[in-house]
Symmetry: C2
Subunit: 218 residues, 2 copies
DNA sequence: TGACAATACGTAGGATTCCTATACAAATAA
DNA sequence: TTATTTGTATAGGAATCCTACGTATTGTCA
């Protein structure tokens, strides 16, 4: 029996390839899901983002940062959604330059319809055990946090960034964390990636919370 | 202390959002990496794919399936790469309709240059422990396999699909698997996502191997 | 206050992706 | 031989997506 050749790509690269494969499937699904409601993937992504953020409205620049595209591209797509009556633009009273882009009720129902469509990716994730799903979520949170710190993506509205996050304050292993906003205990499977009640934590406190949070795994 | 509200999105959805966030970062990076060598992300993706597959050449349809785009779109991008001298087209001797698209040496060096660029995503994955990386890879493999079975993506050249894969035949916990092609033991951290020596396994044998492979986690 | 820079968004212009529908040629089946 | 299927290419068009630049508002600093 010989040794495995050294031409195996590094583990990190293979994970990257794996992520790309899943992303490809998600993009393909996004085309069909968006098409079913008369949109395209970018428009659906914007609309989903706006619905998640509520009626307060988001600025064009924030949307662009979230999508990872340029601001003019976002203007294009927002205008397309505007023509379809799925979003509205209101000028920000505190800054006459800025806009508040928000989903209309028609936009909200469009997102709901798209979400009800079958998704092979969701099925594939659902086939994992609960524990595997939980691990996967935590791994992704760690990666996302690094990407955020590197400036590759904007600040995410995750529990682990939030000023209300209190990691490992309870003895119950299924719900060791605590959210000081709703005053409730919760576990790793409930960690949020994009929370409506999120409030940015102070840098030092965030670092401390992160160290406490990750100590569980070590 | 109250209970956590029920408005938390399902775990599966939050994993989906997390995957999207990582995919966004990867796409942004792909733009800059591709731009550095005078390409766009789609072209770089095709070129990377062709380099991984070697000089044998791939058909347009296979490339399209891999990318998750339509065949005419692939023809467009392949022609763009052709004009730049990074790929060549040769007619398949066994089928006069078909083409063998392969990367030229110039194309190979372009992929190398792009790969040497800094990647925030790779750094973020590298920040995980070896064990976490290994777990993440296995989770992704499970998801990819499901996507493949659902027809959302084409058959992947993964160890777990391969006729030469012999899971859990060794006692060494760091290298329990065996590759009958190179006749070597290897561990979960060496599992490949896109192997050059891959050969599709027979359906029943593949199922059996999968059950043996996943029994480790259970 | 007044000049200047920074910011938020829009428009212009153009390259390219990406789609569906269709045409063509070669292989396969009837 | 004829019909169907398969592998690409082409046609046509919508939309993404970019870089530049313009306009208006806000912020900064002498």
């Amino acid at each position: 029996m010989s040794k495995l050749p050294d031409d195996t790509p590094p583990l990190i690269d293979r994970i990257g390839v794996g992520l790309s494969r899943v992303a490809t499937a998600m993009r393909t699904e996004a085309w069909t899901a968006a098409d079913a409601i008369g949109l395209n993937p970018t428009q659906l992504q914007i609309l989903t983002f706006l619905v998640a953020r509520g009626r307060a409205g988001m600025r064009v620049k924030q949307i662009a940062a979230y999508l990872g595209v340029s601001q003019p591209t976002t203007t294009d797509s927002v205008n397309a959604l505007l023509r379809k009556g799925l979003v509205d633009k209101q000028s920000d009273p505190t800054d006459a330059r800025a806009l508040a882009v928000a989903a209309t009720p028609a936009g909200e129902s469009a997102v709901r319809r798209a979400g009800e469509l079958a998704s092979a990716t969701e099925d594939a994730i659902a086939a994992l055990s609960k524990l595997e799903q939980q691990d996967l979520l935590v791994h992704l949170l760690k990666i996302i946090r690094r990407l955020q710190m590197a400036g590759a993506i904007p600040e995410q509205r995750m529990c682990v960034n939030c000023r209300y996050f209190r990691p490992h304050v309870h003895d119950d292993p299924s719900a060791p964390h605590h959210c000081a906003f709703v005053d409730a205990a919760f576990g790793p499977a409930e960690l949020r990636v994009d929370c409506g009640e999120y409030e940015s934590g102070e840098e030092g406190a965030r670092e401390t919370a992160w160290r406490v949070f990750t100590r569980e795994a070590g």
